[in-house]
């Protein structure tokens, strides 16, 4: 990664490392700007927050701030892509996917264009802005569009690589990023592979399949479970679409029970996507930790994750329930 004056250093030197995935996006964009002259970037009056501003400073002729007009932004991105550009378009996840769903479907996915929607401030960890800004349905509405490829990086290391990969993967890509500084789970030698789930820890009692900020919580939960004599496999499902159903099938066969964890609605989200793969391959008992059909609310990100049972303690409790079902 390269250090830039426009972006705060990704890691502040404090251990254990924490960083926001949106910062890694800003850095990756700068690298792409230098290496690929076809890369253009669009934003909708949030360039300081989404971290596209540094690209805009470095390449003003390839940066378009469209103002508070997300549907128009996606349409313009599609037009640029139709002329051979690789168009990165950013806003908060709520508005990038919510305001522009129809444009994403009709103008980006139907014509199979190189539009890379990198949306920040996804999920509960937006915090105090509350339910109008806490996008908890974006993975659902993106993964159901034919041809849309969906990536939810677990940390800043993975986010950086996922953004670089998105530029190379043909066609539409949605990358879900966070506002909050969250634990870094990967060392710098980690290699993101599009479409492949990474096994971060092995175990035979249950598998925890997680995405995004809940991957760190899953690892912490697995540590706690281990002290209780329960060994959990932890899978980082950073590519949601297309889903690595081989990894899911192996987890089902080897562990006999699967718990999913996501900062997102269970309906249509990771939980449902994994359940689909499980019932088609090797049905086993499952539990889902996610938003159970409610909106979020104001509060700090950590408070909200705990409140909705998406922290390590919440995952441990659900894992124990799941094991009872497995043994029944």
């Amino acid at each position: 990664m390269i250090a830039t004056p426009e972006l705060a250093p990704l890691f502040d030197g404090v251990e254990p490392r924490k960083a926001a995935t949106r910062n890694a996006y800003g850095e990756a964009l700068l690298e792409l700007g230098a290496s690929n002259p076809d890369v253009v970037v669009l934003d909708a009056d949030l360039s300081g927050s989404t971290k596209t501003k540094a690209f805009g400073k470095a390449h003003p002729e390839r940066f378009f701030n469209m103002g508070v007009a997300e549907a128009n932004m996606i349409g313009v991105a599609a037009g640029l892509a139709s002329q051979g550009k690789v168009a990165f378009a950013s806003s908060f996840a709520m508005f990038a996917t919510g305001k522009a769903f129809e444009q994403i479907r009709q103008s980006v996915c139907v014509p199979e264009l190189n539009v890379k929607i990198c949306a920040t401030h996804a999920g509960l960890t937006v915090g105090e802005d509350g339910k109008s800004h806490q996008m908890l349905e974006d993975v659902t509405i993106m993964r159901v569009i034919p041809g849309m490829q969906v990536i939810v990086p677990a940390d800043a290391v993975e986010a950086h690589q996922a953004v670089l990969a998105a530029a190379e993967i043909p066609g539409p890509v949605y990358v879900r990023l966070s506002r909050a500084s969250t634990p870094v789970v990967f060392s710098d030698d980690y290699r993101f592979e599009f479409g492949k789930a990474a096994m971060l820890r092995d175990g035979g009692d249950l598998a925890i399949v997680a995405m995004g900020v809940t991957v760190a919580a899953a690892l912490e939960a697995a540590d706690t479970l281990s002290t209780m004599g329960i060994e959990a496999r932890v899978l980082n499902m950073s590519t949601i679409s297309p889903m690595d159903s081989d990894a899911i099938e192996s987890a089902a066969r080897d562990c006999g029970a699967i718990l999913t964890a996501e900062e997102h609605q269970e309906n249509g989200g990771l939980g449902e996507a994994v359940a689909q793969a499980v019932v088609r391959t090797h049905p086993v008992p499952m539990e889902m930790c996610g938003m159970n059909g409610s909106f979020g609310q104001s509060g700090t990100g950590d408070e909200l994750l705990a409140h909705y049972g998406l922290d390590a303690a919440g995952l441990v409790a659900r894992a124990q329930q799941l094991l009872k079902r497995k043994q029944a």
């Binding site: 009056d45 701030n65 103002g67 549907a71 609310q297 104001s298 509060g299 909200l304």
Partner: protein, 285 residues
């Protein structure tokens, strides 16, 4: 047409209280949006004190006036004026943005507090306000619907779909007050995405549209009277304001759109708003 001295003093006091409450709430929350509500204080105070018939007595009357805060991020000032009208307990204000609070980071529709609609996503508000206005008309009520919007929100295409429809249906009971402060998140609006002359635009869409000095209480009041008297077209009051008006270091500064003042800045802001001595110490404690 000017206000009596006593009436003007009451509106000025309410506007000052909006500014003070906004500083305190955003400071206490350590996040939020101070600049917008401080800049909107004069027209919000004029509207709620002199034009909207919303009070604890009318709260549950179905035909009372309605309000939609399109630029929902400016809700600290909205909560302040609702509390001044007796609809939110004063001591609840400092729960703003905290877990479990009724005072969410963006307004959530709460009939018991007189919050008529949930907002926060820019662009949706004028359509909703039009729907409320059409409902009142179809009921034969003389309800007025007031909608606050902003230069930033005017960049959303849906605003102009609503503007087209409101004129088409002659929604003369609908008034939008646009906080035109030439500021949005990424900088000055004219540099980011210039919406140009909004009075001309609304006029071209078939509205009764007026430019208003958003810090001149007499002028705001007169414009609201003119909007009330207009019987054929919806009214757009383009309120020209200064973001952060009254707190010198916030004025015209895009940086104060969405950053909370720390202790030192909060103290400076409150001092500029006329809070001093023991009162200031108590607020900062």
């Amino acid at each position: 047409m000017t206000l009596s001295q006593a009436d003007r003093a009451a509106v000025e006091a309410a506007a000052r209280q909006i500014r003070i409450d906004t500083v305190r709430m955003v400071h206490a929350a350590a996040c939020g949006h101070p600049g917008g509500p401080i800049g909107m204080a004069d027209f919000m105070a004029t509207l709620f004190l002199r034009h909207m018939n919303l009070s604890p007595e009318t709260l549950h009357r179905p035909d009372r006036d309605r309000f939609v805060l399109g630029n929902g991020h400016t809700c600290a000032g909205y909560y302040s004026i609702l509390s001044q009208k007796g609809l939110i307990p004063r001591d609840e204000l400092l729960t703003f943005r905290k877990l479990g609070s009724r005072l969410q980071g963006h307004p959530h529709r709460t009939p018991d507090m007189g919050i008529d609609f949930s907002t926060g996503s820019l662009g949706n508000s004028l359509s909703v306000s039009l729907g409320m206005a059409l409902a009142a008309k179809s009921n034969g009520w003389d309800t007025r619907v007031y909608s606050a919007s902003s230069d930033g929100e005017s960049q959303e295409g849906q605003i102009w779909e609503a503007a087209t429809a409101a004129a088409h249906y002659g929604a003369s009971n609908l008034t939008v007050l646009v906080d035109f402060n030439n500021v949005q998140i990424d900088g000055h609006m004219r540099d980011v995405m210039d919406v140009r002359d909004l009075r001309e635009k609304y006029e071209a869409f078939g509205w009764h549209a007026l430019d208003v000095d958003g810090h001149d209480i007499d002028a705001i009041d007169a414009a609201l009277v003119a909007a009330r008297e207009e019987t054929a077209r919806p009214s757009a009051l383009i309120c020209h304001t200064l973001i952060g008006k009254g707190v010198s270091f916030m004025e015209d500064q895009p940086g104060w759109h969405g950053v909370a003042p720390g202790d030192e800045d909060a103290r400076k802001a409150l001092a500029e708003l006329g809070i001093e001595g023991a009162e200031l110490e108590a607020m900062m404690a």
